[in-house]
């Protein structure tokens, strides 16, 4: 039986990040992965001939620059190419584009409403102010409001001060922002349906909530608080697909002497008299270590890889009640060429952009009603990108890879498992939605991969295939994430830590949970901290 200082379960980007920082601190670390490839949901896969699919996450923005620098990811081959603009096709044949160039963007909005064009600057600065508040807490461990330890009281004080220093009116705005729905938030600025619809998408991506559900305004931040080369809110493609992110972190990990084991699925986490002792692999092997870090979601960790008796009943029920719901699917498509979109003018920069097909708030919300009724949206919200327009390495010359993220798609259909027929019907729904705006699209499809939440769960292991490892609702944020009293990456079991997206600050290819977990572990081991501090903004 091989012995390590620490075992990290799951080679997703967070697991690898924790592993890397622990190895950097001189620990003897192994990272075990059930699949024969690493990356978890940040992965590039060669599923059809010479096409490379980012078949889970598909754009890069949230990855914390502090981590990028600290792990020298550029040296391990990570290159993020910014890409411009987004686009919403309208049923009346028109379209609404959002451009990076503020002048162009203003003119475009003014085409629909001068009032909205003017309101945008107010919207942008108000929203960015909220971003800055939250960004400061991404690379820090949430304090426990029920504890009296100086560390926690100081943490609370820090949040309190950060919260109060913005001034009385701003405080109230912050309270409202955190509690209101994205629809109502947008209503306060804009009047044009399509403009609101285009923006509201960011409030519901990956969540089992509708645009009218209170709390969704906050989810906007999870799509705004990222940056590429310090441009807050901008997005980019990882060259070679999202796997490049995981591979670069893995490269760093190995350069610090870490050991990576694929096809090493963990069958159980070994706990003896309240202490983590190691893991038992599916192939029967046992690895021993006094530190076990789970990058799996909290449900899979405690409900599937441990004995009920390992944790107290109260904790167990709280984990059971943790909300982690399948609400989004994916369709990854290999294309024989670039589809044309007649609605777009020749040579418009929007041909290379993030495309959407829902042009009204009502259609957005109705998509959610379908999910509530237990089926996929018949008129779904699709976030469609063609990375090969800026990154030729992902497909043969002249060919393209298209990634479609679909909201909403349930984990089960009306309480039953998905049938192949339903998976096909789901794919057809999505393809038709796009074909409505691109006559030649269907003929260009050479291969596609359907990913329902159930498929993602089966392949990646995330419960219900939830991209955030748990809903981003107020009851599951900050000191409540994943479970009140255990938001500091430790678990009720000594030596067992959590570093996945179920922990603060949650999902997205951000690597912050992984880094925060590493910091806490190193603190417990009284080792020098290798995890960088927040850069902070402006």
């Amino acid at each position: 039986m091989k012995t390590y200082d620490a075992i990290v379960v799951g080679a997703g980007h967070n697991g690898l990040t924790t592993a890397a920082f622990l190895a950097k601190a001189g620990l003897n670390v192994v990272c075990v992965e059930k699949n024969d490839y690493i990356g978890g949901a940040a992965v590039s896969r060669n599923l059809h001939e010479d096409w490379i699919y980012s078949n889970c996450s598909y754009v890069c923005s949230l990855l914390r620059p502090e981590i990028y620098r600290a792990l020298e990811l550029h040296r391990h081959g990570l290159q993020v190419t910014p890409f411009g603009g987004s686009l919403t096709f309208m049923q009346n044949g028109d379209y609404y584009g959002s451009y990076h160039d503020p002048e162009v963007a203003y003119r475009e909005r003014a085409r629909f409403s001068r009032r909205d064009a003017d309101a945008y600057e107010r919207y942008r600065s108000d929203t960015m102010r909220q971003c800055r508040i939250i960004r400061d807490f991404l690379l820090s461990t949430p304090p426990d409001p029920t504890s009296f330890r100086p560390k926690d009281l100081l943490g609370l004080l820090r949040i309190g001060r950060k919260f109060l220093e913005v001034g009385e009116d701003r405080i109230y705005e912050t309270i409202r922002f955190w509690t209101m729905s994205v629809a109502e938030y947008l209503d306060e600025y804009f009047e044009t349906d399509v403009i609101k619809a285009a923006m509201s998408g960011s409030g519901i991506i990956g969540t089992a909530l509708g645009i009218h559900s209170p709390g969704t305004a906050y989810v906007l931040l999870h799509h705004y608080m990222g940056d590429v080369d310090g441009n807050v809110g901008s997005w980019g493609f990882a060259r070679g697909g999202m796997g490049a992110v995981s591979n670069a972190i893995a490269g760093a990990f190995q350069s610090y002497g870490g050991e990576l084991r694929t096809q090493a699925g963990v069958d159980r986490i070994i706990v003896r008299n309240g202490k983590a002792q190691g893991v038992g692999l599916e192939n029967g092997d046992e690895l021993s270590a006094n530190i076990v870090v789970s990058a799996m979601d909290v449900k899979r960790t405690f409900l599937q890889c441990m004995d009920r008796s390992d944790v107290d009943a109260d904790f167990y029920t709280r984990v059971e009640n943790f909300k982690i719901r399948g609400s989004s699917g994916k369709l990854n498509i290999a294309l024989d060429g670039l589809p044309t979109f007649p609605a777009l003018p020749e040579g418009s920069s929007l041909h290379i952009s993030d495309m959407h097909f829902i042009d009204s708030m009502e259609r957005m919300e109705r998509a959610y009603d379908d999910w509530k009724a237990g089926t996929w949206s018949k008129d779904p919200y699709i976030d469609m990108v063609i990375p090969t327009t800026v990154d030729p390495t992902m497909a043969p010359p002249g060919k393209h890879f298209m990634s479609c993220f679909i909201q909403y798609c349930p984990y089960q259909v009306e309480g039953r498992d998905w049938t192949d027929r339903e998976r096909e019907a789901f794919a057809k729904t999505v393809i038709q939605q796009i074909a409505n705006y691109s006559p030649d699209f269907k003929d260009l499809i050479v291969h596609y991969e359907v990913r329902t939440p159930a498929d993602i769960e089966a392949q990646i292991g995330i419960t219900e295939g939830n991209i955030f490892h748990g809903e981003l609702t107020m009851d599951q944020l900050l000191f409540n994430r994943p479970v009140p009293g255990y938001a500091q990456y430790r678990s009720p079991v000594a030596g067992l830590y959590m570093c996945g997206s179920s922990t603060h600050p949650g999902g997205g290819v951000m690597a912050a949970p992984g880094a925060n977990a590493a910091r806490e572990i190193l603190a417990d081991l009284k080792r020098p901290n290798t995890v960088p501090e927040n850069f902070g903004d402006d």
Partner: protein
């Protein structure tokens, strides 16, 4: 002619009356101006059909603050108290619950409901202490604000570690997840979901519906009662208290505008052109109407008017009044139980589905219904042997697509009666007269924008520190001498009197300082 008062209260709704009574008790010379012919605002009893009277808007008393009753020495008598809620089932196997006790469900549900109720009332009590105080301002260095905040923090921690964790988790969460986690019985889940979304533009799945549920429990622990003679008699009682204290109440005197002189409120002008002067104008009218119509946007800065304009107050609850020539037969319901609160909400999904159309400006084809038979315990409300049925029906959005045309009204009334008839077969034949009050009608009759009970959606982003809007949560509007005392101010609606009482206390404190 002009006449000077220490304070003029616009609107004799229950909050306006409570506020004026307390101001008058403190020796102020108070004038109350009410647009309608009778006092009470949305808390009135009126005839809707020959010989049939009903509490026209609010019809159940949830949380009349004990402090209000004590301070004003109210002598209201009750026709029914500590009413049960009966969640109706078509097969007659109803679920009955009141103050922590439930019957007609599994033993598991009985105990988890007891536990649920204990926990919720505990949180509701905590909430209640803050419903009865002016919310502190945040980010100031005022001792009073900091003290209140410190107390809030202390009270939270005093819950104990586990309870505090639960509270912090629950306050933002939705009722749907809680009831599905806790209870087996669909009827119980449905009824509790309905309790949480009553009078709001929310469905059981909407986050922060636990908060609205707690709000309902605050004050009376969810105990239900109906004053003898309907809500109107409570209003009359409050008016009497105000008059006894020396306040002058003039009904049938709509106010056209609040007179602004040298950048401050200086009086009011009635529709008839009369002018009354006072440097303290207290508005029981909803915040939108108060600022946008009575004051006029030009007298307050744009940031504030924008916020006021953004207040969400889309009413969704309609009232349906039926004059019956006798009690209908309801499967599995004992005669005595017609005095209780009957609810049609078969399960949480039904309630959610009823809500869905409201999001798109459509009324529910299958509405959720809260029924009472006020005349059952209070014969005076109907001719002998006859009965009055008072229902709250959801969802009927105020701004209905295409408007509340006669066709739309008939369609919705039909949907309601069909739904009720599924539980009370043959009720159609007993209906002698009916009245449907859509939120649009409520807006017209009671002058509440959007016909919203709470004068503004009861949601976390419009609650406590930010109710009615940022920077005006202390009853003082950003126009010198203008105050808000209605449901639009903290804490919100429901016939509780809390807003009126808090406002009065704030005004007195401010003016004595």
């Amino acid at each position: 002619m002009t006449d000077r008062y220490d304070a003029i209260v616009i609107g004799a709704g229950h909050n306006g009356l409570v506020c004026s009574a307390l101001l008058a008790k403190a020796g102020r010379r108070v004038l109350v101006l009410e647009a309608n012919e009778r006092v009470g605002g949305a808390a009135i009893t009126r005839e809707f059909a020959d010989g049939y009277s009903v509490s026209a808007c609010a019809h159940l008393l949830y949380q009349l603050q004990p402090k209000v009753q004590k301070e004003l020495g109210l002598s209201t008598t009750f026709a029914s108290e500590a009413m049960q809620t009966i969640a109706l089932s078509q097969d007659g196997r109803h679920v009955r619950y009141a103050s922590g006790k439930v019957s007609g469900v599994s033993d598991a549900d009985v105990s988890s409901y007891r536990q649920f109720h204990r926990q919720m009332t505990r949180f509701a009590e905590l909430l209640n202490t803050y419903l009865n105080t002016t919310p502190p301002r945040l980010g100031t260095s005022e001792f009073r604000d900091l003290a209140t905040l410190a107390r809030l923090g202390f009270d939270l921690r005093r819950l104990g570690r586990d309870e505090m964790q639960t509270f912090l988790r629950l306050v933002g969460i939705n009722i749907h997840d809680e009831v599905t986690e806790r209870f087996e019985s669909p009827l119980l889940r449905g009824a509790l979901s309905f309790d949480a979304v009553l009078g709001t533009h929310l469905g059981p799945r909407s986050p922060n519906t636990i908060m609205t549920y707690l709000y309902r429990l605050a004050g009376g622990h969810g105990r239900l009662s109906v004053p003898r003679g309907g809500m109107g008699s409570l209003a009359e009682d409050l008016a009497r208290a105000a008059r006894d204290a020396g306040a002058t109440i003039r009904t049938g005197t709509p106010v056209r505008r609040i007179v602004v002189e040298n950048g401050r409120a200086a009086g009011v002008e009635t529709a008839a052109g009369e002018r009354f002067e006072s440097f303290t104008i207290v508005s029981n009218v909803d915040p939108k109407r108060t600022i946008m119509e009575l004051v006029g946007a030009r007298h307050v800065e744009t940031g504030f008017t924008r916020r006021i304009d953004n207040i969400r107050m889309r009413g969704n609850a309609a009232k349906l009044h039926l004059a019956l020539d006798g009690l209908p037969a309801i499967t599995g319901l004992a005669k005595a139980e017609f005095g209780e609160r009957l609810v049609i909400a078969p399960d949480e999904h039904y309630v959610e589905c009823a809500f869905n159309p409201a999001k798109y400006g459509e009324s529910s084809p299958q509405p959720v219904v809260e029924m009472t038979f006020p005349s059952f315990r209070d014969a005076a409300l109907a001719p002998t042997g006859r009965h009055v049925m008072s229902c709250v029906v959801q969802y009927a959005p105020c701004a209905l697509k295409g408007g509340w045309t006669d066709a739309a009204r008939q369609a919705f009334e039909k949907a309601c009666i069909e739904t009720i008839a599924r539980y009370a077969p043959g009720i159609e034949s007993r209906i002698k007269a009916s009245e449907l009050l859509t939120p649009a009608d409520i807006e017209r009759e009671f002058h509440i924008t959007g016909g919203h009970w709470h004068h503004g959606e009861l949601a976390l982003d419009q609650f406590m520190f930010v109710r009615p809007v940022c920077g005006a949560a202390q009853y003082r509007m950003p126009l010198d001498g203008l105050y808000l005392c209605g449901a639009g101010a903290h804490p919100g609606g429901g016939v509780s009197g809390a807003a009126g009482r808090n406002a009065a206390r704030f005004i007195l404190r401010e003016q004595s300082a």
